[in-house]
């Protein structure tokens, strides 16, 4: 109960405290937004995943590279879920389910994305054909 009161008081105080004009209308960031996990292995996993997730509210930045509050919240989600023992891929799947494929910088092969993988394969074939034609025949 006393902890609840302290928290409530803290909230009230935070709301009334004179904050810089530019920092208005911003909730304090979630705890793991800018704090690393204690376990270096887990932190490395989280870091690798964060670099592959798009900050939804920013412009072409991963959540690992962004000051946006939204990115902070997402970093918190990633870190706390990985700390809770989830695998990075399941965290990614959870975020994709929530925000759509757009959130992941790693495109998955699907009905909308197969050309992303087919075209490089075709390019590889073309490159090999050109090299064969230009370099192969004559000896």
């Amino acid at each position: 109960m006393s902890r609840f009161l302290a928290a409530a008081a803290a909230l009230l105080f935070a709301a009334m405290a004179p904050v810089p004009a530019t920092a208005q209308d911003r909730l304090p960031p979630a705890p793991y937004a800018d704090r690393q996990l204690a376990d270096p292995g887990q932190e490395a996993e989280a870091r690798a995943l964060m670099e592959q997730l798009r900050c939804i509210t920013c412009q072409s930045q991963s959540i690992a590279d962004s000051n946006a509050p939204m990115a902070g919240d997402m970093r918190h989600q990633v870190r706390s879920r990985i700390a809770a023992g989830e695998s990075p891929e399941s965290v990614r799947a959870w975020l994709v389910e929530r925000y759509g494929d757009y959130v992941s910088y790693e495109p998955r092969i699907g009905t909308a994305t197969w050309p992303l993988f087919a075209v490089p394969a075709v390019l590889l074939v073309i490159v090999l054909l050109i090299l064969r034609r230009r370099l192969g025949a004559r000896r």
Binding site: A9, T22, Y105, P107, A112, P120, I130, L131, L135, R139
Partner: protein
Amino acid sequence: MIAEFGLAALWLAAALSALQLLAGVLALMRPEQAAVTAGRRGHAPSVADPPETGPGPLVRPAAVLQAALCATAFAALLVLFARTDLSVSLVADNSHVAKPMLYKLTGTWGNHEGSMLLWVTVMALAGGLIAAVERRLPERTMLATLAAQAFVALGFYAFLLFSSNPFTRLSPAPPQGMGLNPLLQDVGLALHPPTLYAGYVGLSVAFSFAVGALVTRQVTPEFAKVMRPWVLGAWVFLTLGITAGSYWAYYELGWGGWWFWDPVENASLMPWLAATALLHSASVLAARDALRAWTIMLGVLAFSMSMLGTFLVRSGILTSVHAFAVDPQRGTFILALLLIYIGGALVLFALRAGTVSEGERFAPLSREGALVVNNVALSAILGIVLLGTLYPLLTEAFGVRVSVGPPYFNPVGAIFFLPMLVVLAVGPLLRWRGDSFKRVSRPVIMVAAVGLGVLLLVWLLTGIALLPLLGMALAAMVGVGSFLPLRGRSLLRLPLPVWGMVIAHFGVAVALFGMAADSAFQTERLVASRVGETIRVGPFAVELAAVSPTAGANWTAITADLQVRYDGGAPRSMAPQSRSFWAPQQEVSEVALLTRWNGQLYAVIGGEAPSEAAGETMGQSGTSRWQLRLWWKPFVTFIWYGGLLIALGGTLSLVGRVSEDLRRRTRRGLIAGRRAEALA
């Protein structure tokens, strides 16, 4: 007055480019007929004939005057920004009286209209320069080239004058300007766009030369030799622009990233890839009269990528840090220009490529063979970057949003990039036309041994991920391989272009090593720290000594005083800042960097950290905790050193080629002089 003066100069420049196009086209249509009629009469026109009359002689002066007028218009806009003339709409929207002078000036191109004016100015200057100095090609090819240059410029003049007029007045003038995005108030901005544009638009010269050569069907080694310095110059600027842009993003965005595969970055990378391929293919054409059609194609492609980049950035189709213009009307305009120019050039290529034969043949194991590998690999990488950049835009048009980022570009690009690097390590050792395995076997085995040795050593000692591991090994191979062409040659008598090649290739190795080292070995510390606390990051001990308020011309800030010791050595100070700008309102982290030979310590202060709910009570609010972000980034600086070395190599090559040309000109002048004396 100055605004009207600038606008008038711009209109005149546009009119001159129309004249340049018209005179060029008319002249191209004339002499062919003249030659035919002369042929019928039985006497071919001789070289000694007096210069022809008609529209031809108008073209070069028109190009030079157009350049002067366009530069005048740009200078007028600079003056308006320097004076903060708020009666000009562009100045009012993008500047502010309280801004430091440097940023007032650089603000000239920190907006859509101003940067497009800079774009056209660079294009006009490039055209004026080739008109003034280039006399090696047949005059008809030059006329076609300058007409093509004028045709492209005309479209962009129209774009400026009809949809992006930088000189529009605003009445009544507002009492104060809106200011400039604080992210852009940085010395990096002073250098980045002009450099990049010099490269981007410099490639227009290659495009125009390619079109000119296609029109007259004169794809010769001489043509490649004439085009090469221009491509080299543009490529050096592009390399510097990309290097500077990467460093700018690195220290300005505040999270330690140096390449994001952001569409805007890709927009500058694509012309660079095409220009790099063009440079190598032009070398083959110049030295061996091979790869003719391929060189022309790359010339068209390189500037097409520049225009595509301009479209992506300027149309607002991407919303990113760089896209400060969002206006669909403009987007459609540039898209139309893009289709006309790229489409037109490709149609011309399709019509004429059949009549341009591929040129001389060569054996698979030869310098040409290695350069073909370079060409197709770079083109394939370009294809992938293009696909990855445009694909999300395409699916978005159909309502599906996908993201393509580093996890796609890095591995897929590596499929082509890594084999290309292997060829790069040994290619320069091969002879033109044909070589034997026996002759090059020793250096090849040596390079391979170095690569394998580094691979095994790094893998056993550190166990880093596959891509950085391969990057390290290939960096070692290319690094050693790049110096092998110097074997057995007199270093003092080596031509400058060979030095250029060696240094540029070594730069590739250096940059690659930096990228691999940073991605494999960087350490990160994110902490909420009290004054007096010490944080360990990598080999550093960082003490937060003080946090104090600071004020600048148009911002206030908190500044951290960090005392940093490397491996217990003497302390050095770092002072990261968190700035709050007020026009417009925005918070920006000013990164502090401590550079050592073996890397950089990257420090950011994010602001006051929230007190934690558990274990902390209100009474402790006197000892605030400050959010610090610290990275130790081993050898990260090598990325940009590498970029600078690549640009230095290009510059040496350029100097070598140009002085060679000048020597030839004076020699020719001497011969002509002696001949005149003998006749007298």
